[in-house]
Amino acid sequence: MAMANPKSDATQARLDAMSMPEGAAWMTAARREALDRVTASGLPGRRDEYWKYTNPADLVAPSIAAVPLLVTGEQEMFSATDRLRIVFVDGVFDAAQSDELAMDGVEIELLRDVAQKDIHWAKDLYGTLETEGQTPVSRPLAALNTAFATDGVCIRVHGQASRPISIVMQHADEHSDVVMHNLVRVEKGASLTLLECGPVAARFNGLLEVDVQDGGRFNHVRTQGRTHARRALTHIFGRLGEECHFKSFTLTANGMLTRNECVLRLTGRDTKAHVAGAAVGDGDFLQDDTVFITHDAVGCESRQVFKKVLRNGATGVFQGKILVNEIAQKTDGFQMSQALLLGDDAQFLAKPELEIYADDVACSHGSTSGAIDDTALFYLRSRGVPKTQAEELLVLAFVAEAIDEIEDSDLAENIRVRMDEWLVRHRN
């Protein structure tokens, strides 16, 4: 008999508070296997090396404190973009607010419906990449998601999606605790842009599995809601074939706790994978980017660019790893994480890692943290730009490199405007 220990008690308490949705046999099997993974490793605790900088307690706790709703008069993100909108309110699909789930060359379904079907393409994907992503580092909260996710969007793209699909996640209930799981399969030579926005819930466990077949292109831009007290954990698990293009960008503004994990495996030659993020936080804010990119093929390029603006005691975390296996010659790996610390007590904790088994590769990483450049600030002020505005210009300049990773310039402009608005709201 196993000894009682706090970690398994915490895991059990969390599991007791959840119920597994009913579904078709394959779905139930996938969920049960995921549950086995959770019980085998236990949910993360403070002592787990992978959670050294970010305390997972609030993500693991059986229940969550109420989070006041953030009511703003501002327009929804990406509203200027012609897109197919899919709206969830506290994780529940809202048909009335959503567009018809139909687009030429694209199959769009809800996970809750897919889960009931005996035969479906999702069977091969649901939980598959998540399972692969459990080695070499276990990610029990991702397995928890696979076991208990109540809904999500399943998208299969056969051609060039004519417009982006936008998942809008509204928050209406102060107590909502949401687990969502999205699936994307980009068929050979197909392409899709996926947009995500909204605060989602008081607590959010979100997961996206993306399977990009040879020659496929996947663009992903998301913003995480500005609600101050929310907690969010997201995972992206991606598997990329030959000559694929994968780009994912995340803007995190506010939120008490956010951890975004991105686990990619480059399995076909000459593929490009770019992951970027900009985070801005003020005060009680912890934002964590944890990235694991595995190169398993020749001639691939991976690029990580993360910028964090941390004010008044805010904390930023970056754990980024590039693993280059022996087969992956001619790999070009780049990793950069930088923090701008505004105020003495903000902190940035970074753990960049390279693990390389191939001999003909170029990999680099850099991590810096610093304050606003006084010389640049004086230069701007000496030209008549007031101090506050000069600082904002320099902050925007600092995050520009991450925002520039977004392929579509209109979407990038959208993000820039949001950043600017955040800075103006947070003027001293």
Binding site: D374, T375, A376, F378, Y379, L380, R381, S382, R383, G384, V385, P386, K387, Q389, A390, L393, L394, L396, A397, F398, A400, E401
Partner: protein
Amino acid sequence: MLKISNLQVKLEEEDKQILKGVDLEIKAGSVHAIMGPNGSGKSTLSYVLSGRDGYEVTGGSATLDDQDILDMDPEERAAAGLFLAFQYPVEIPGVGNMTFLRTAVNSQRAARGEEELSAAEFLKVIRAKAKTLKIDADMLKRPVNVGFSGGEKKRNEILQMAMLEPKMCILDETDSGLDVDAMKLVAEGVNALRSEGRSFLVITHYQRLLDHIKPDVVHIMADGRIIKSGGPELALEVENNGYAHLLEENA
């Protein structure tokens, strides 16, 4: 225009007096030059006047059109009409040159209660001014001074001066790092801005810049003071004989 009386300045972080009582008055429309050996306090004077951190004024005053500038923030001094062309223009990655200039021009206009320039008007003005300084469209689009050659950086300073139309321009070793052609171009840019209502203070080590920007008055600065003032011939004297005998004269 600019009146400096018995200005005394020390470094904020160490007990080192840099300016030991500088007196200088520049009338509207005139061009003054300050020459002097390394470490005489020339650059400090330009920084203190423009409001850079790190210096403590321990005595004296400086006024621009009778307004005390030493109590103002750097941006207020700029809006009041003061401009410093930097010896080492600062590179600012991520901020486009054009954005920077438009923000600067409109900030100053706002501070003076004037209407902002529209994007179209601004574009029209800057294109014309950039052309005379041989600054191409690409330089305007690039981040401020990033990847600019020494000459391009200095021309960019003059472009900023032309756009901001200050009344008191301080040029801090604008000739340093420039070849003859680049220096000529910069000097032409400055000369084009000379007018009755605008004054210049040109800080330089060498007389050759003063061949192109002809000063009305030349001052020699040494050990934190102005030790001699005279006409343009004083610059030539320095060029021929160096500073040594002037320093001795003063000792």
